[in-house]
Homo-oligomer: 159 residues x 2
């Protein structure tokens, strides 16, 4: 069993895996006669394969053990998560599906992520029950690969 | 000046204008070994015209006078709004851009809407400052028409 600690989620640290969704540092401009700020076009929504379309869903996540034993990836599209309950949560990714490559990030309740196509990640990990908006890809074709790790990775919470 | 009162937002009442985004009444199933409920594929994301793609943005809305003097529509795509601060807000739409056709709805802080292509609606109306996730259409072409009403419509809050 490997132990890892989550690091703070930043655009720089997360760049190999996809987009961070947050207001800070994003392009913004005024619309609607100045009554609305548009924080504009935050992610790359990737919709590959046959009959692809964008899907809007909610995920209602519940806490689970913080032992990482498997990872998954979506070969045909990106998958974005944004929390709507303003509670922090955990993001777990890997450049390759090997225990020593697994990275964990603390996302604040005002940070989401967009996993790019083919990026290995763990299914949703929350500390308390919470709701997320999900933007992912619908359409024909096989869009989920799963793999088991040969050693489990335990996330040790540092806060 | 016409006066109208907002009605409760329901799928039935909103059907001529687009989709209501809420957990209640939506298809859902368990994923992630039972640790996540997926509330699945809630809206029709419409992406018409040249080089269309889905855009994920935030709108940061601020209160404004509740006098409806203009409406807009998006001829090339849908536009979805989902609140992330759990505060109620107002949805204003019309089947035709005439004062007597204007309808107002109270959305709860856990209800969003998706305006379908070509549906007349008022820009974002909030009672307190709040943040929304927006899913709309990017790409080439003219995607916003605006029109002035010949008489203003005043929204009288009933709560």
């Amino acid at each position: 069993m490997l132990n890892i600690q989550p690091q703070r989620l930043t655009r720089e640290a997360f760049a190999p895996f996809g987009d961070v969704i947050e207001i800070e540092g994003s392009e913004q401009f005024e619309i609607n006669s100045g009554y609305t700020t548009r924080v504009h076009d935050l992610i790359d929504v990737q919709l590959g394969g046959e009959n692809a379309r964008a899907q809007f869903s909610f995920f209602l996540g519940r806490p689970r053990p913080l032992e990482i034993r498997m990872l998954e990836r979506h070969p045909l599209g990106s998958q974005a998560f944004y929390p709507t309950d303003n509670k922090r949560w955990l993001v777990v990714v890997a450049t390759e599906p090997k225990p020593e490559e697994v990275r964990a990030f603390w996302a604040t309740g005002k940070q989401g992520v967009n996993y790019h196509q083919n990026v290995w990640h763990h299914p949703l990990l929350v500390i308390e029950p919470q709701q997320f908006v999900i933007i992912d890809r619908g359409g024909d074709g096989h869009n989920c690969d799963e793999t088991e790790l040969d050693t489990a990775v335990l996330i040790k919470l540092n806060e």
